[in-house]
């Protein structure tokens, strides 16, 4: 395929951000009796966004399977395993999502909506756990790399000598660990952003599956945060984690 021009930008992350912004606003305004009209409009808008996004996601199963095929061939085995498992779970999530879409438009009638919705949340949860495992692995690798670096060790000794009172209060190993962790994250913002995004995303299935019941406001806020990070990585490709 010969395309000299980059593909036009994708608007899908903006829809997710709008949907979760609506969810958050609905939660914040739920007890406000003057704004009942606005709340009704926001509920309607959120429902439209949610239904529309389900339709847009119809082709994403193949995307995830292709991604799984690519990650199987990675040189780093642990990374490949984590990402392949994440992508397979994501593909299963999309299959459940597609079935729910077909149920909602009336193409399929006799499927148990609740069961499929729970299965979708479970698959999504597993894929997020796999992504977080990858993040932790990458961060540990970066930290090990940093500790081996002589230049960095000098910096660490300098930090320890500058703050002796902190070192006495906090356990020295913990202080050193945190220092190395923060330095690694600062030097690799893509990994930090991806970790933050996955942690935010994790609250959504945790609430849905009942593992950690928060409220709709927390879910809306976390969803909005992760969508905004997603938009940021879209507009600044250097902030996107690779692979």
């Amino acid at each position: 395929m010969n395309d000299n021009f980059p593909p036009p930008p994708s608007v899908f992350p903006y829809f997710r951000a709008t949907q979760y912004a609506c969810a958050l606003s609905i939660y914040l305004l739920r007890n406000n009796s003057e704004r009942k009209d606005l709340v009704a409009k926001l509920i309607s808008l959120e429902a439209t966004m949610s239904a529309g996004r389900k339709l847009f996601r119809l082709g994403n199963t193949i995307n995830s399977i292709e991604a799984a095929k690519r990650t199987m061939r990675l040189s780093d085995r642990v990374l490949g395993l984590c990402l392949t498992a994440a992508n397979i779970n994501r593909a299963l999530y999309f299959i459940c999502d597609n079935a729910l879409w077909a149920r909602s438009v009336g193409l399929i009638r006799d499927i148990d909506k609740e069961r499929w919705s729970l299965n979708a949340s479970r698959c999504y949860f597993l894929s997020l756990v796999m992504h977080l495992t990858r993040d932790v692995y990458v961060v540990l690798q970066l930290m090990a790399q940093k500790v081996r670096d002589k230049h960095f060790r000098q910096k660490m000794d300098q930090h320890v000598s500058e703050n002796p009172e902190v070192v006495d209060v906090v356990v020295p190993q913990l202080d050193a660990f945190l220092f190395v962790l923060l330095e690694s994250l600062k030097s690799h913002p893509a990994v930090a952003l991806d970790t933050l995004k996955n942690i935010c995303d994790l609250f959504i299935p945790l609430d849905r599956l009942g593992i950690y019941q928060s409220n709709a406001g927390v879910v809306g806020f976390c969803g909005l945060m992760s969508s905004l990070i997603g938009i940021l990585t879209l507009t600044h490709p250097e902030l996107r984690i690779k692979p």
Partner: protein, 261 residues
């Protein structure tokens, strides 16, 4: 499969696929009604069509600005006819998308008490003007290409004696009053055949122009039917919409098939 991933990531490509599915539903609904299928199935298909139409409106929320940008670019074209056609066509498209956005807001409930019928008619009118201008541009480009092809042929081979009218030889012989009429018909059909052959050649050698012409011709039946100017029925509209969506998906997959500018 890499091309599928890239295709899928573009919202414009997804919008075209959903458009194809929407008009396929229209066509399917028509055939089901003709075939006397169950009302339940027909209701499901029309609900699915409405759902796809609303979702497409959501995807098109930013297209008004894009059309204005395209109009700004079209002003700088060198050819005056192209400049006029394309600029006004893009402006009409921008108005169509603006009306479409208002309709989306009305259908979602953001704007209460919207006269949806009026705004639908308005949006289809702008769409019709844009399509007429696009077709004018296609015909103009076709004429230019035919003229240049004719000049190229004339320069390559001077007109041979065989192509001159056989009237010379016939007029010398004894002629009846009906002779000019009888020789004019085969002459005209030969001329028509030559013109059609030339047209076919030009279109065959310029697939982007052919695709654009076919696409606009198919598309024009949609607003003509919806505005009541030339009602053709939902089956024909569905078939035309499906055909033009498939053609535009082809131009997205193969960007060289897109007519430039």
């Amino acid at each position: 499969m890499d091309s599928w991933v890239r295709f899928n990531a573009q919202s414009q490509a997804k919008e075209r696929v959903i458009r194809a599915a929407q008009y396929a539903c229209t066509l399917l609904g028509y055939t089901l009604k003709k075939g006397g299928a169950a009302a339940e199935l027909h209701k499901t298909i029309s609900q699915l069509e409405a759902h796809m139409s609303l979702t497409r409106k959501l995807l098109r929320l930013g297209n008004s600005v894009e059309a204005l940008e395209a109009a700004k670019r079209a002003i700088h074209l060198s050819d005056s006819v192209l400049r006029l056609c394309l600029t006004i066509s893009h402006l009409n498209k921008a108005m169509y998308f603006a009306c479409d956005n208002v309709l989306w807001a009305g259908k979602t409930g953001l704007i209460s008490k919207l006269d949806q019928q009026k705004w639908t008619q308005r949006s289809f009118r702008y769409y019709l003007f844009a399509l007429i201008l696009n077709l004018t541009r296609d015909v103009y480009e076709l004429r230019l290409l035919i003229e240049s092809e004719e000049r190229y042929r004339a320069s390559r081979s001077p007109p041979s004696p065989s192509t001159t009218l056989p009237a010379d030889s016939l007029s010398s012989s004894s002629s009846s009053p009906a002779a000019p009429a009888t020789i004019a018909l085969p002459v005209m059909s030969a001329w028509l055949c030559r013109r059609l052959h030339l047209l076919g050649m030009v279109l065959y050698n310029n697939p982007p122009l052919l695709l654009d012409l076919l696409k606009n011709s198919c598309d024009i039946f949609i607003p003509l039917d919806r505005l009541g100017i030339y009602p053709t029925g939902s089956g024909f509209v569905g078939a035309c919409g499906l055909a033009s969506s498939v053609l535009s998906i082809l131009t997205i997959i193969n960007p060289w098939l897109k007519l430039k500018p």
